[in-house]
């Protein structure tokens, strides 16, 4: 697919893309690392929200600030920042999630001189009235802080327009997942992963145009391509930093029909109400979307969601892709695995470093897992 090829190049080198975007459009670029960043407000301010994934380069500079038992995502992003690769950023925002990012924010504030720095100290629990009210307060403060930092006024109308755009993007991605679920051969896992990541990197209006074309293409293609009856699988974890995993799975005879990832369904689930106060509506979405393990909803919420994803996808099994040293995900793994087992869904744990792993080894493990699936 031509459109996807273009996206893949961007996803492969988001930093060059962002630099160019800045040059050409004059837009301010605001970095963030997490799906809890209120992107809609950044977009409404006329700036460009850019998700940072960290590069795969060797860590030298970040070693002076973060010990080796820090996850590679945070070490990688800090390395990029310290080396100056991110010096085009006009600002960086840190929504509160895990302990590691919490400290990254401090270290960033003390060591990175370019761009403004905003903390968005979200509530950790998302299940009480007081935390809801606090969430709205936090979003309102963010709006004010951003107005000051960018010296702009963000009107309710701006936010509403942005909400409409995001609803279309999120709805579109959901649509692609549905098509993939119906017929897994319609788009490869690797392409789908690039499509989701590009949503966090590209100019959102440009992106939406491409997304709509992709959907149209998939819809016509969907009726002509035959399903091959490969083993249907779900991936669960944090960010999926190994796009190759999809090809490995496909080579092993499986196919990914859905996910519980923050570079996947956790990014696009839940739409924002278009009526009423737009800030309250943005806050409200955080209650509807599947929760990340660094936040508390019901103590069983994540298992229920994962089982639902697996059952909706008629999946034969689940692969957990966990980043080494990621506490929130590592804590949830045993209970998620058990909850899946209780409804007879087998699972496989793959612990990954950000560095590309020996593909052969991964493939053997996945093949062995697929063989155990009935």
């Amino acid at each position: 697919m031509q459109a996807i090829k273009e996206l893949s190049a961007i996803v492969g080198d988001p930093i060059s893309y962002a630099r160019k975007l800045k040059e050409q459009s004059g837009k301010k670029i605001i970095g963030y690392m997490c799906t809890y960043a209120p992107e809609e407000i950044i977009q409404a301010a006329g700036a460009h929200p850019l998700r940072l994934f960290g590069s795969n380069k060797n860590i030298f500079l970040a070693d002076g600030h973060l010990q080796a038992y820090c996850c590679s995502l945070v070490r990688g992003v800090l390395e990029d920042a310290l080396s100056g690769d991110l010096n085009f950023l006009d600002g960086m925002i840190f929504p509160h999630t895990c302990d590691t990012v919490q400290r990254l924010s401090d270290i960033w504030r003390l060591n990175i001189s370019y761009g403004f720095h905003l903390d968005v100290v979200l509530p950790v629990k998302l299940d009480t009235k007081s935390s809801r009210d606090y969430m709205v307060d936090v979003q309102n403060r963010f709006r004010n802080d951003l107005e000051k930092a960018l010296q702009v006024t963000i009107t309710d109308d701006d936010i509403k327009k942005s909400i409409a755009l995001y609803n279309e993007i999120r709805g579109g991605l959901k649509k692609v997942y549905e098509l993939k679920n119906k017929n897994p051969e319609v788009i490869s896992g690797k392409d789908l992963s690039a499509l989701v990541r590009a949503a966090m990197i590209m100019d959102r209006n440009d992106y939406l145009r491409i997304l709509l074309n992709v959907i149209a293409e998939l819809e016509t293609k969907g009726s002509t391509i035959k399903s091959t009856g490969k083993r249907r699988l779900i991936i669960s974890g944090g960010i999926c930093s190994q796009p190759d995993i999809y090809s490995v799975i496909e080579n092993a005879g499986g196919v990914v029909v859905g996910d519980d990832l923050c570079t996947g369904s956790r990014y696009f689930e839940g739409s924002i109400k278009t009526a009423g106060n737009p800030i309250a509506a943005i806050a409200e979405r955080y209650w509807q979307r599947p929760v990340c393990p660094a936040k508390h909803l019901d103590k069983n919420a994540r298992a229920e969601n994962l089982i639902k994803i697996a059952q909706d996808g008629k999946a034969a099994g689940v692969i957990f892709m966990l980043l080494k040293f990621c506490d929130p995900h590592a804590f949830d793994y045993p209970y998620l695995k058990e909850s899946l087992a209780a409804v007879s869904i087998p699972s496989l744990l793959l612990e990954v470093e950000d560095q590309p792993q020996a593909q052969g080894q991964l493939q053997t493990r996945i093949e062995a897992f697929l063989e155990t699936l009935s």
């Binding site: 010990q67 919490q102 401090d106 103590k299 590592a330 793994y333 045993p334």
Partner: protein, 414 residues
């Protein structure tokens, strides 16, 4: 039996025995709670215990239990059991050992009494949130989360409002769990006792400003247990009064924790529980006393925010602004002011792979201390409970090399 060394005997802190008795009785009481019709709450170390005391609920601290597991060198076994359950060896070893211990009733006291409720305050880390979710599923009991927004640079008004509301919710939670109303007069009294206990604990720690320091950080690690577990009780107040008197006596008699104290260092992060004696001996052999630490002072560090006549109200701020819930730069300021206060010649940092919020940022604090005070510092890579991450020979070499630097520097500046 060998003759006891009288000089060593003189240096032993006598209150130790009283402390051990109090802790033993506390755990016996806790284990008999059910027979005595009392409720048990598990609570995080930074959590607001005072309302529990006021409601006659017995507070249990899994982290204190974790420290006991570490000190009795039972950490590896329990951590490995957790790994068999699927918990990564990279997770906090307090959490790992507590989670597996609950399922086997192992550890030094045969497991903790079962909780009737769980109270989790995330002012120390996000780990406790996940850990308490695990236990809430395992024991199937109600969980209250006190969410204290992180204060990177400030405690914002909306955060204050949010924490205030949660403290009200906390009391309602307890009233429901205990099926009785909170006695607000009793709560006030508990608040006063808590403040008094914290003041006394600070006063005990302050005695280490004296040269020689009558107690070391290693002593403080031990005597900390009561201000954590029994804060808000008369018992804690009485105990620390006794301890303070003993410290003052030692000062009068010129008794130091280390026989021939020449060098004074500050410790950062949790203790290495299974090696406190080894480390203490190691430093003492170099005429060095670890005179203070950032860890034990966390239980009295927010006294400045507390209004003892309005405890419940001021508690929101005090519990939100504790040492681990503030930015790295503010922590560095605290470290520098402790260095000045206790006349430290250097800094020893335990880079504790279990505790990310405590350890990430240490390298920057180290740099700030170097810039502000020109003091040398040592980074020890270890883990507070899981001995597999402690390399004795490596650490020994590093301590020796570091002490050379400290001595060198001191002889130059004299």
């Amino acid at each position: 039996m060998a003759e006891k060394d009288p000089a060593k005997e003189k240096r032993k802190i006598k209150s130790v025995k009283k402390m051990k008795d109090i802790m033993t009785n506390y755990y016996i009481d806790a284990k008999m709670a059910e027979q005595n019709g009392k409720k048990v709450a598990w609570i995080t170390s930074g959590g607001p215990v005072e309302p529990l005391i006021a409601m006659d609920v017995i507070p249990i601290y899994p982290e204190n239990h974790g420290a006991m597991i570490g000190a009795s060198k039972m950490g590896i076994d329990l951590c490995q059991k957790a790994e068999v359950m699927g918990y990564s060896s990279d997770l906090c070893s307090y959490a790992r050992s507590d989670i597996s211990c609950a399922t086997v009733n192992g550890g030094p006291i045969g497991g903790l009494p079962k909780p009737d409720m769980l109270v989790c305050c995330n002012n120390i880390c996000g780990t406790v949130l996940k850990w308490y979710e695990v236990q809430a599923r395992y024991f199937n009991v109600p969980l209250f989360i006190l969410d204290t927004p992180f204060c990177h640079t400030q405690f914002l008004p909306e955060a204050r409002k949010y924490v205030h509301r949660q403290i009200e919710e906390y009391i309602v939670f307890l009233e429901n769990a205990c099926k009785k109303k909170m006695d607000h007069d009793r709560m006030k009294e508990v608040g006063r006792l808590s403040v008094e206990g914290q003041r006394l604990w600070q006063a005990v720690l302050d005695t280490a400003m004296n040269k020689p320091a009558p107690l070391s950080a290693f002593d403080a690690f031990f005597h900390l247990a009561l201000i954590v577990t029994l804060r808000g009780t008369k018992q804690a107040v009485d105990y620390y009064e006794g301890l303070l008197a003993e410290m003052r006596e030692r000062i009068a008699d010129n008794i130091g924790a280390v026989e021939n104290e020449k060098y004074r260092l500050l410790w950062d992060n949790l203790p290495v529980w299974y090696r406190t004696k080894w480390l203490s001996d190691k430093f003492a052999a170099a005429d060095t006393c670890l005179v203070a630490d950032t860890y034990t002072s966390a239980w009295c560090g927010t006294l400045k925010y507390i209004d003892e006549n309005n405890f419940i109200e001021s508690m929101a701020e005090a519990y939100t602004r504790i040492y681990l819930n503030i930015g790295v730069d503010e922590m560095a300021r605290d470290v520098v002011s402790m260095i000045d206060k206790y006349s430290a010649d250097g800094l020893v940092m335990h880079s504790n792979r279990s505790c990310k919020p405590y350890s990430f940022g240490q390298l920057d604090i180290q740099r700030i201390v170097r810039e502000k005070r020109g003091l040398p510092s040592l980074m020890i890579e270890a883990d507070m409970v899981d001995e597999r991450f402690f390399s004795e020979s490596q650490i020994e070499t590093r301590i020796d090399a570091f002490m050379e630097v400290v001595k060198e520097r001191k002889s130059c500046t004299r």
